[in-house]
């Protein structure tokens, strides 16, 4: 009897165990792609707005109102995306360009209005000079910005500083190329 109850119970669980995956347009309107691979092996690819796969392979397009009614809470809880600031430097220097200096107050404002506790400061360089030297220069740039923001009242424990050196250029260039746009610090306020 116990076994039968257990069997019925597990069958009920299986029936209840359904799922839906819905592809939405990105925040900029572009429609990306997701693949949904069932543990039994079948793969369904979604690449159109509101395209939905229910269970293993039942594919259809949800209307806007269906999406809203099924997912309103999760959609309403969506936080504001990360704000990104780019600060530019003089060549081989931790000295900020004048137009970037004014951006520090915008960063502080964004930090306060968003009640952020997670700010990343990422240093970069162009590809002129040795890799290791550029790694250090890019770290020095990031640390100089950290110091300025801390002076303005940002606590150290919300800041994460990293250095990408010349490995992550904004404008991809061959090695040894002077590129002012790559001499930068990115500040991400989450």
């Amino acid at each position: 009897m116990k076994k039968i109850t257990l069997l019925i119970f597990s069958l009920l669980l299986l029936v209840g165990c359904g799922q839906k995956v819905v592809l939405l347009p990105d925040l900029d309107g572009h429609v990306g792609q997701v693949t949904v691979t069932a543990h039994s092996g079948e793969t369904v690819t979604l690449n159109q707005a509101n395209q939905t796969v229910s269970g293993k392979d039942d594919v259809y397009t949800m209307s806007e109102s269906e999406v809203q009614s099924a997912f309103s809470e999760a959609l309403a809880a969506q936080p504001e995306p990360t704000t990104r600031f780019l600060l530019y430097f003089f060549s081989d220097s931790t000295k900020l360009k004048a137009e970037s200096e004014t951006m520090l107050s915008e960063i502080m404002e964004s930090y306060r209005t968003r009640s952020s506790t997670d700010v990343s400061i990422i240093g970069h360089t162009d590809t002129v000079g040795e890799k290791q030297y550029n790694y250090d220069l890019s770290l020095r740039r990031a640390l100089s910005i950290k110091k300025k923001l801390m002076k303005d009242g940002m606590p150290a424990d919300v800041i994460q500083t990293t250095s990408h050196g010349e490995t992550n250029p904004l404008i991809p260039t061959p090695d040894g190329k002077r590129e002012p746009k790559n001499r930068r610090v990115e500040v991400l306020v989450r």
């Binding site: 209840g16 165990c17 359904g18 799922q19 839906k20 995956v21 819905v22 592809l23 939405l24 347009p25 990105d26 925040l27 429609v31 990306g32 792609q33 997701v34 693949t35 949904v36 691979t37 069932a38 543990h39 979604l46 269970g55 293993k56 999406v67 099924a70 997912f71 309103s72 809470e73 999760a74 959609l75 309403a76 809880a77 969506q78 936080p79 504001e80 995306p81 990360t82 968003r114 009640s115 952020s116 506790t117 997670d118 990343s120 994460q160 990293t162 250095s163 990408h164 050196g165 490995t167 992550n168 991400l188 989450r190």
Partner: protein, 169 residues
């Protein structure tokens, strides 16, 4: 001086004492330093993976079996399970700028999160065990699309830089 004149073996005793206690002292100092360093390393090994940005109703973070009430600003760590009650929701942002928001009666576990793009080391796995969730993928899905997956009881979702919804009954 008198001591050493009348009891010359005192000096020996002091020498022996140093010989015995100095290594002991050094050992103790070594262990204190070593334990401080390993604590510091342990703290470094547990980096924040993101933070809580929105909460309505009651949302919790299940951290190592301990149920903590989620507040805006709380830091998130690998292996945290995000849990929401009835009529509740939760929104978080990860270090790679992925946005995740949950509707009520939902549960999502942060199984893995490595974000070190300067060394080409990224990996992001979460599992939605029940409820509703919205994902807006960030930099990990952009730089290495096969390194971000979302698991459900029925399937694995692969992401090519995008926004999607999941509902698990």
């Amino acid at each position: 001086m008198i001591g050493s004149t009348f009891f010359p073996h005192y000096r020996m005793l002091i020498k022996d004492g140093i010989r015995f206690f100095l290594p002991l002292l050094l050992t103790v100092v070594f262990f204190i330093v070593a334990s401080t360093i390993s604590t510091a390393q342990a703290a470094e090994e547990e980096p924040t993976v993101g933070s809580v940005k929105t909460v309505t109703g009651t949302a919790n973070l299940n951290r190592n079996g301990q149920l903590l009430i989620a507040h805006v600003g709380d830091h998130l760590y690998k292996n945290d399970i995000l849990v929401t009650a009835d009529n509740s929701s939760l929104g978080v942002i990860f270090r790679d700028d992925t946005i995740l928001s949950l509707g009520s009666r939902s549960e999502v576990c942060i199984d893995e999160f490595i974000f070190d793009p300067a060394h080409d080391d990224v990996s992001f796995v979460t599992s939605v065990s029940k409820g509703t969730a919205q994902f807006i993928s960030g930099q990990i899905a952009k730089v290495a699309p096969d390194k971000m997956t979302v698991e459900t009881p029925l399937s694995t979702i692969g992401i090519r830089g995008t926004r999607f919804l999941v509902k698990v009954d």
